[in-house]
Subunit: 299 residues, 2 copies
């Protein structure tokens, strides 16, 4: 499907700049939500993220973590497209589309505790735009540079508007020192347009190291000066929801403590993908799903 | 001067292991120190480090920081041996022996507030074994892998026993997320012997990236399981003292916030250098001083 207008142009040449967000952050009436949720939504609206401490019980986390370990060691997965490996060691670092590949993670992706928050933010039924398991090893965990996911999803996947939310479920303890996710509070209100254009099949590189669609240093400084940086810490089972346009990244990790998480992106069924705004071919289904079937909560 | 016995052998072949420390941590009677100091010394004895929050006033820090900026930009320093530059960008990352090169940092190295703590730990007059200014840029700050300084000072410099203390003075704010120093509490009680041997002129590489004298992963896991990891955070002007054998390192830094510090190593005049235990030529004076003249506090 072609689009009529591009509200969030990026990578359209040498220019760069900041566009104020034109979309809502919360698509429901916060006042009418249950009291414990409305406080969380208010925080999300202001900061572009919110953390739920130990939303999952230790015994649930153990089950998911054991399944992750099993998948990382699964030879059948090693050569699948969905699997991103470390160039040097060949070890698995991410498994994409895990909500379609594995029954246990399918059910996690539809967990009612997650979907209640997601639907309260998005204000409609949702489908899963992307999912993955991430494993960041100790001693040699690599950094992941600052980026807004929406910038990529818009330019490379054709997501029209900001009406998607990411959810990262910690499957191991997150400390300040083991490469945990960092977010810039308030950054979700500003769309940082990036320089350059998008090469064909950019995703084959960008999943390992992003070179296009990275914000400039001056803008990052400006964003951090306003509101600082928040680190997602907490015991395994804790969950962070963050807006599709929240600027985030993570430092490397020399500590012995590895980190793993399950990551799901929910998009509104009223915000389904069009042609990529970069004029390139769409990315594969396992990175940017075009199965827009709404999902239902599973208790 | 030749040595008779090596109490802390390391890099003597394929073997590796852990040797319990045979030296005291605090060389004075803690009970007889002033009350505010004795609490700090007790903490140091147990953990191998201690932090003094904002030991220096903001106006003092501003002066030192301005001098650091001036030195980083000083073309006369760019090609000196004391200066360690980034291979890619050629920018200065460290200036060694700054206590001999620059009057302001000479006086900082003798500041009474520093020396009072140092002498209470070491229990004798001290001299400066090594000093440097460090500048870790934002966005691209590199990690520094775990190591015990004493292992290197013993093997490569011939420091016989554990009776030296490092002091890092933060010249910018240290956050949990901008690559601040991490220490493993309690690690000072264990000497981790390392595999391999020491190549000639190893220091030319090791100041940028250490490949020999790095502890094995299993031992690091064991140390961290016991006591975790502590991050040195605090406003500019805060100071950490840590034992010569405390295991430490730092993660990279993708945040916009750069970090700089002044670093001084004090060794007891009763523990002066002998021949390097690795049987190699001594490292240059600006890295491992053989000027054992005791220094006097300066108020």
């Amino acid at each position: 499907m072609r689009h009529t207008e591009d509200f969030y142009p990026s990578r359209i040449g040498p220019g760069r700049g900041i566009i104020e967000r034109i979309d809502p952050v919360i698509y429901t009436d916060i006042q009418h939500q249950p009291e414990d949720l409305s406080g969380k939504l208010k925080f999300f609206e202001e900061n572009g993220y919110v953390i739920f401490d130990q939303l999952f019980l230790p015994e649930e986390v153990s089950r998911y973590h054991a399944e992750l370990e099993r998948l990382l060691a699964d030879d059948a997965l090693k050569n699948r497209d969905e699997t991103i490996r470390e160039p040097a060691s060949n070890e698995i670092r991410s498994i994409f589309s895990v909500h379609t590949l594995n029954a246990l993670f399918t059910s996690l992706s539809r967990d009612k505790r997650i979907l209640d928050v997601v639907e309260a933010i998005i204000g409609s039924k949702v489908y899963i735009h992307q999912s993955r398991l991430n494993f960041k090893p100790g001693f040699e965990g690599k950094e992941f540079y600052w980026h807004s996911d929406f910038e990529t999803w818009h330019v490379e996947d054709g997501m029209p508007r900001m009406r998607a939310v990411s959810c990262s479920i910690a499957l191991s303890d997150n400390y300040v020192f083991n490469g945990s996710l960092m977010v810039i509070p308030g950054s979700h209100r500003y769309y940082v347009t990036c320089e350059g254009t998008t090469p064909k099949e950019h995703y084959k590189q960008s999943l390992k190291k992003q070179e296009y669609g990275t914000p400039d240093r001056q803008t990052l400084e400006w964003l951090v000066e306003r509101n600082g940086i928040e680190v997602f810490t907490g015991r395994a089972g804790s969950v962070i929801f963050f807006d599709c346009n929240t600027m985030h990244g993570s430092n490397g990790n020399i500590t012995p403590l590895s980190r793993s998480n399950a990551f799901f992106v929910y998009n509104s069924i009223e915000n389904t993908l069009t042609d990529p705004y970069a004029g390139i071919a769409p990315r594969p289904e396992y990175i940017a799903s075009r199965n827009f079937e709404p999902i239902a909560p599973q208790v």
